[in-house]
Symmetry: C2
Subunit: 295 residues, 2 copies
Amino acid sequence: MRNLDAHEDYRVDSHKLARQLSSLPGDFPKPKVDYPGPYGVIGYGEAWWPAQLAELWTGRLISEGGTQFVLQGGLDLGAAAGAAAAAKAGGARVVRVGFGDEVEVAIEPHPLSPYRYLRFLQEATGEARSGRQVDSALEKLTAELAPETPSEDNPAKIMAWNLLERLPVWVVSERYAGLAAALQQTFARIGKSLSITPPPGGLEFFVTALEARHEQGDPLVALVAGDDERTRLAVEVLQGRVDTVLQLPKPDAAGALSEMVAIWYFVAWTAYYLAILYGRDPSDGEVLARLREEA
Amino acid sequence: MRNLDAHEDYRVDSHKLARQLSSLPGDFPKPKVDYPGPYGVIGYGEAWWPAQLAELWTGRLISEGGTQFVLQGGLDLGAAAGAAAAAKAGGARVVRVGFGDEVEVAIEPHPLSPYRYLRFLQEATGEARSGRQVDSALEKLTAELAPETPSEDNPAKIMAWNLLERLPVWVVSERYAGLAAALQQTFARIGKSLSITPPPGGLEFFVTALEARHEQGDPLVALVAGDDERTRLAVEVLQGRVDTVLQLPKPDAAGALSEMVAIWYFVAWTAYYLAILYGRDPSDGEVLARLREEA
């Protein structure tokens, strides 16, 4: 059995993802010029979530005039280039962020890149204050969640043990719209494992989807973010239908955006420890580079 | 072993869902008055998908002036009433559709209700022609997919056998945005079974999420809708990673909207036969009525 407090079990982390997780707050490209508003943000590939988050404050995908940020998260099969051309024709200054063709602000493909896109966008669009709130929420977690903190004091290590050989189902408050899919993505890319996001009518789904459940499957675990009326009702429904219901820690953060990023960061650490428990490299650069060559 | 061509195995269908599936095309409430444009459509609970589909032609959730349709699909914890009040204050005529408080156009809670909401909306907003295209696409399928058609000629029965004790993963072309979650919902409500929708960055997910896959789980089956470049790439990635890749039949339908509803209808029939194979009632009225009382 692997030991999350033993140095040698971290050898599979050959690209030092733990170090990158620990130093994530503040690790993003800083804007070097001023970008005129209004702002539009559209994202592809791994950058879909930061684009969705940016819509919370820009209110738009496409900007007419002002600045259009096109987040090139890869595997877009030409769509990013098309969006950039359309925005240019609409009179916007186009700023391509990410990797690949004609990138002005480089962000390497990486399971932690959503943070980097988001923080760049915040600084570039006059949202630096809200950006500092995000960083402050993450900084409160870095020491507690790092490998040096022993299992009994490290909630991400404890959560990873709880998820071992289980199939998570994300139960996310409406306050955190879009977060479930972001957690599913990061849990896959770092933890190398499947998880399930419910459809929008989540409660009906939870009641019906487990009725014909045959017993060969991995035991399900409900992972709950938020505690509004709807998530409490979902937990009531799921208790008895799944193996365990676990609440993700309530983030010490200012506002829904910071809370979402803090929950995501906690799940990234949890997925990291799960990869260690499975003896898998928690990074994914090599396997995804092969995919990008094929695409 | 159950037999999809034996009458007695259909006894679990105590609410005659097969009959409702067969007679679905045309089975929706017809508008009795004219509704002035512009139109906004917002949907809750089980009506989330028809609201999303309506956005394809109305282009908006909220209408200022004109008519605001509020689809009351249940379990909204007061949100539908709030949206109705806000739209009224904005000067729109508010039409509440669905079930519950102050409903003007009644649509009962039902796993097939997305079709009924959609077709009512099409007739009510000047889209009757596109509505006839939807019905025409479904009518081409009703005889072929009905219980009277023996297994060897019935692709929904064959598909149900293929899904038995497997966990489907939906792989859906970008042409059909939002469809994967609708299929997941209907597969749960009728087939009483879990399935997995990928996050927006689907390709990275397919490559990474199965790496640590431990062998106790149900075998995965990829269910593919559409055949653009992205779905073909996904199939390439998934072959060898999942137990089987199955293509959903290409619908004989005019336009993306009709194609989506036809694929949904095929999956509803497949889920129906899966429920029969599991010996479960393919309807869900009773279990969801209990949930609504609790909420």
